[in-house]
């Protein structure tokens, strides 16, 4: 817990410093190359970017902690609504991808392990690996061509009409989430598969089998829980990617997620927006890790109870 706070602090510092040393003059960037130097200076002053770095950081971080993410340089309005909107959108997309990939990935890995070295295992393992190594802009374009242009089953843009209901939004999100599914499927399936193989080869599984328990009980009660513990950690580390690392997908499907928000902010040198966006992703990431640790400790009594010796 305290470790995640330290991580977040370091992240914020790095983001802030990195943002400031990026070459560029905020006022000049906003007003354009033909603006009067005095106007640029005045704007810089009113934005506060001519103050010492430490002061700027302190103002920003203390406001951030209180929920005030500052004012966007570009939009001249508070950053928070932008970030919150984008985060909401990103979470919707991530949730759809997550709901698709986690059960199917785990199931794939489990099935592969139970059919070790048989054709089914090879299809899942090799297939998973092949689609994982394809970058999402390649699979994204291919999927758009197949489902959006050729078959016309799904909309090629994720931007749903205004006031769309839950199911309509879901419908719009299926295509963008498919490339994510493909990227993560192989990864999760592989972790689940190796966890399963290890658990199946373990002495406690042998004990369970030799007790005469039916195979189904052995798998459900004795194998799965131990086998999937490492997978949970892996899934948590992928949450950060699912929420913050989707610039390409969001651009491709014209989706207003936090990835494209950050990208836009970085190009426009909109530091408050950029920094808040990144820090928000950091927080999401830290929370996901915490949840994973919690789940892991619930599943693993050795962590939960410690050793009494």
């Amino acid at each position: 817990m305290s470790l995640s706070l330290v991580t977040l602090f370091l992240l914020s510092t790095m983001v802030f410093l990195g943002g400031q040393v990026l070459p560029g003059n905020v006022g000049r960037a906003i007003l354009g190359p033909f603006a009067d130097q005095r106007a640029v200076d005045a704007l810089n002053h009113s934005l506060g970017v001519d103050r010492p770095l430490l002061t700027q950081y302190w103002t920003w971080i203390s406001n951030f902690v209180q929920g005030d993410m500052g004012t966007s340089y570009i939009f001249r309005s508070p950053v928070a609504p932008f970030v919150i909107d984008a985060l909401g959108n990103s979470m919707k997309l991530a949730a759809v991808a997550f709901v698709l990939v986690v059960p199917i990935g785990i199931l794939g890995g489990v099935i592969a392990a139970l059919n070790l070295n048989r054709p089914l295992d090879r299809i899942i393992s090799l297939g998973g690996l092949s689609v994982t190594v394809l970058p999402e802009f390649v699979t994204g374009i291919i999927l758009i061509l197949i489902f959006g242009v050729w078959l016309r089953w799904l909309p090629i843009s994720a931007a749903w009409p205004k006031d769309a209901g839950f199911f309509t939004q879901l419908y719009y999100l299926i295509l963008p989430s498919l490339p994510l599914f493909l990227v993560l499927f192989g990864y999760i399936a592989r972790m689940a598969r190796s966890g399963m193989i290890e658990a199946l080869d373990s002495d406690y599984t042998r004990t369970a089998v030799l007790k005469g328990l039916p195979w189904r009980t052995v798998i459900w009660r004795h194998v799965l829980r131990n086998a999937l513990m490492p997978t949970i950690t892996v899934i948590a580390t992928q949450t950060g990617y699912l929420i913050g690392g989707l610039v390409v997908i969001e651009t491709l499907f014209r989706y207003q997620g936090i990835g494209s928000l950050i990208f836009t902010a970085a190009r426009g040198k909109d530091f408050p927006m950029l920094e808040s966006g990144i820090l928000t992703i950091g927080i999401v990431y830290a929370v996901a890790t915490l949840i994973a640790d919690f789940l892991y400790s619930v599943l693993n009594p050795r962590i939960r109870l410690g050793s009494e010796q």
Partner: protein, 680 residues
Amino acid sequence: MTEPAKAKNALELDDLSVAYRVNGRNRAVLRNLSLTIGQGEAYGLVGESGCGKSTVALTVVRYLPRNGSITGGAISLDGQDVMKLDGEALRRARAESVSMVYQDPGKALNPSIRIGRQLTEIFELAGISGKGAEDRAIAMLNRVRISDPAGVMQRYPHQLSGGMQQRVAIAMALANDPSMLILDEPTTGLDATVEAEVLDLIAQLRRELSASILFISHNLAVVSNMCDRVGVLYAGMLVEEGPTDVVFNDPRHPYTVALLRCLPRGGQRKDQGRLDTIPGFLPGIGAAIKGCAFADRCALADERCRTELPPLYDLSDQRGTRQSRCHYHDKAQALPRTTPSDGASAPKPATAPVLRVAGLNKTYASHGHALRAVKDVSLDLRPGETLGLVGESGSGKTTFARLLLGLVPPDDGGTIELEGKALAPKLANRGDDQVKAMQIVFQNPDSALNRSHSIRHILGRALKRLAGLSGKAQEARLEDLIRSVRLTDRHLAVKPRQLSGGLKQRVAIARAFAGDPRIVVCDEPTSALDVSVQAAILNLLADLQAKQDVSYIFISHDLGVVRYLSDNIAVLYLGRIMELGPSEEVFSGPHHPYTEALLSAVPKLDQTETARIRLDGEIPSATNPPPGCVFQTRCPRKIGPICEQQEPPLAEAQPGHSIRCHIPYSELAQLQKAAVTELA
């Protein structure tokens, strides 16, 4: 309830062959193995690791690894042909008639399920659920002598000690009241006292149950105590079989003879000559064997042995049915000794100690409690001498070794002097000379050697770091070094994983000796090795000591091994020295009651039943040691309130022999004379 008609034999293996598929080829592991175990009989199966013992067990329960297959023969369990069973019938056989306990109980229990649940699910299979299953489970835990069974039911495996875990595993195996119980090295890796407890338990249960037992072990003494009959397995073949006492006292196969000679017995010590070893190696799995499988390692072998596979000669006499797979079974005991027993080395003149430890303490903070892992330890070690450290797990042996090596700093106040100079508490503050003067050999050479480097690289680096040698000088020293641990040039190019356990341990020893150390700490260096390899390593250590005058701190829970190599013994309990003295005096007594209990716990080859002093319960927690004498809670010779009120001092009873006990030395002598049992 009517007893179903039982087959004559609980288990019959008939001409059984098993192979493992490696690199696309089937390699024979068991070769035409036939044996029978009668109803209620305990049968021991012995042999070096790799001879196929565990494969026998796994074949009987049809749980071979994926690449294993039965290539011929038949297995009949209680009259039922195991190989003809379909999935459901096999499951029922496992649920109803056969159970198995194996080594490493920590892994055999599911880490994320409570003990209670792991037991009740067995009863659920038999149609008993809910409260009924729980009551049965508690009864089962009572049966394996677990106090507080209801509490243990609520725990997870990691919250139990190794001995308790194995009891639980045994309870699980017995829960279905099997007719066949397979015990595969059930005590390997447990402490001597815990091992004795578990064996006692099995022996008692044997009398209560009707189960037949297949007992697999590389520990001959354990088998001799437990089993009616014994089979000796070599390269997947039965080479000798017969009643246990007959086979062990009058072996008729050279392999059995050689195995028995590897053990340090009868209080044998390093100055009374070297241990016998078995030269060469077990044939690899799948090796083509033309004549006798043991011929290559047998000094008696002639042309006939190399070309003609000996049948199992029937040697039955009035002592029982027995057989031996040796053409010259009548001459087997004439097997020449492999190592000449060289004369006793001259007693060493008294010299200044190389290591002097005074008032050493180590306290760990554990959840707000002080854990005194080592308390007030003082001792001396002379050049060329071995100090044996014995005691149960948790007695502070390893912590003491780590303090000496500077891996953990001791509490303030204590001193460690090396050759008259005080050693800094932390390794980082010690001089280069001091660092290389003290080295360590671990139990597990696998984790001690870098697996991605060649042996040449590993030893070359050690020579550079510890002896400051490079180039030609390093090459020359490297040659010497590998020759001194009896490795050859061809071993230099390979990586650790290509070597056997014994060879790896030689490399680890060579590494420790690279910088001409004054003291080598040996932490259970032979515990993971077969008896034949153990003997070779012990010989090597004794030779190196005689040649280089190096001193050893030798940690082992095998008291026979400690006795063989040690000049002095320190017996530790809860971080305190309970007894310290010359090896012979400590072993022959009179000794501390704790030492007495430790010694009587050792399974012996030559004796059938000895009055055993049982240590009840577990070693107490060091965070909360008992008041008074720390051993009083388990002491079989406790004399009264004084034991609970005052901690006895470590008093010199004889010159050089100190005991921490309230009972006077002369009285201990009398008490123990009655029960004196010479350690075989």
